[in-house]
Symmetry: C2
Subunit: 115 residues, 2 copies
DNA sequence: TTCTCTTATGAGTATATAAGAATATGAGGA
DNA sequence: TCCTCATATTCTTATATACTCATAAGAGAA
């Protein structure tokens, strides 16, 4: 959390989170975790339309999550940092913890019914 | 990132991120970092309307980010885990890194102009 | 029960955004 | 130059969501 809880900070953080908070964009970020890729590669990798990929990449670029370089006719995109990967890992962990809790309470319920 | 990049995982992660990706909700989560609070306290702490707070709390609760307990007429909300706090800290760090990069490039530019 | 306090929900509105289709831009080759 | 490949943008439409205002619901107290 930001040191001083000003409205501005929350908006900035929210914007960055929002850029990631979309399945298609997570899919793009996921592909970019391994290596840089050009748009056509991302289109094939995600199964999204070219227009859609292009628009999502724009959102990611505007939030500074990805970066690009041109090589002849192709434009290669890459992550600017490991942040998206780390965020997703943290979220996944908390989802797993939730499922563990869920499972444990189901087990308890089953024991109650059988006991 | 999820072990197997299925569409489902991305949707689940996106939903959880989306629940956090809103300034008012970040503000609520921020207040709840320190201690549990009732709705009136959160209304005062955020400056939002009571209806707005209630609806945002619902979103957070539905994504399992907060939890509540009733005590007489009041309902106290609390974080279910440190995840939101950790996510925000990670985002803040990456924002600071961006600003450092920005600053460094401005400095370089200035030196170029003066040199 | 009736009143008050606390929280939740509903209706209406405005804004944002995601997707598809079509088109534009931009780089390099014939 | 014209053509093709790679990428970006525009327009339209559909859906989601945040806000305000008003009201409902639920728990105690008188």
């Amino acid at each position: 959390m930001p040191k001083k809880g000003g409205k501005t900070s929350f908006s900035i953080i929210a914007r960055r989170l929002k850029a990631m908070a979309e399945p298609s964009r997570l899919s793009l970020l996921h592909l970019l975790c391994d290596s840089e890729m050009n748009v056509t590669g991302l289109v094939e990798g995600t199964g999204l339309s070219q227009a859609s990929v292009s628009k999502h990449l724009r959102v990611l670029r505007e939030e500074g999550l990805v970066d690009s370089r041109r090589e002849n006719k192709m434009i290669y995109y890459r992550l600017t940092s490991l942040m998206p990967k780390e965020i997703c890992e943290r979220i996944c962990r908390s989802i797993e913890e939730d499922m563990d809790r869920e499972k444990k309470s189901v087990d308890t319920y089953r024991r109650t019914m059988n006991g």
